[in-house]
Symmetry: C2
Subunit: 120 residues, 2 copies
């Protein structure tokens, strides 16, 4: 599909899709006329990228972990260097601590709302 359709389906402006490509997060094919040509599965990937960006991860990290997250069919376990493994372990730790941080604050808000409703 072309960039306009992807933008419509993901609700991400074309400008951003080009920006993500520039950041190495997307690598669409090109039609003979130079138009970007996005395969179907990139819809999910764009949504995933947005989620991670909204969660405060820099494009640099997202770029590094994306190959291990999407395309479960094309997981390439063989060429996993010790450095990559180490990086992933750090990112796992990072995501875990952030998950716990957000969950803690989410629950705190829930508790507050609960208290308010109870006293109403």
């Amino acid at each position: 599909m072309k960039i306009g359709e992807l933008a419509a389906r993901t609700d991400v402006p074309t400008r951003m899709l080009r920006y993500y490509e520039e950041q190495g997060l997307l690598d669409p094919d090109r039609t003979p006329n130079g138009y970007r040509d996005y395969p179907e599965h990139l819809v999910d990937r764009v949504v995933q990228i947005r989620g991670l960006l909204d969660a405060g991860l820099p494009t640099r990290i997202i770029r590094e972990i994306l190959p291990c997250l999407s395309d479960p069919s094309t997981i390439h376990i063989e060429d996993a260097s010790p450095e990559l493994i180490a990086d992933l372990e750090r990112y796992h730790e990072l995501l875990d601590s952030r998950t716990r941080c957000l969950a803690r604050n989410r629950d705190a808000i829930a508790a507050y709302l609960d208290a308010v409703r109870r006293s109403a």
Copy 2:
């Protein structure tokens, strides 16, 4: 405690502590000589602020939810306007979706690492 000690204990530069105050995230007391005087519990709050900022929340939102998170003793339920309640419900939703996004990707990394280790 004075700003230097807080900076040392939270590993957040004094520059940033003043910056957060400017952003309305901190409101320390003042000693008669004008020095900022941070009560003990602000140590945790600073750590919490860092966590939320790292998680991608803007200071604007953090400023709004902080009063409902810290100081469980001083929860002021009475003056919770319907607008505040609505905002908090939205923020709860926001934190929840981000939490789930991060957890999902964290687990995906874990699964990948697991697969790698299994094949090693």
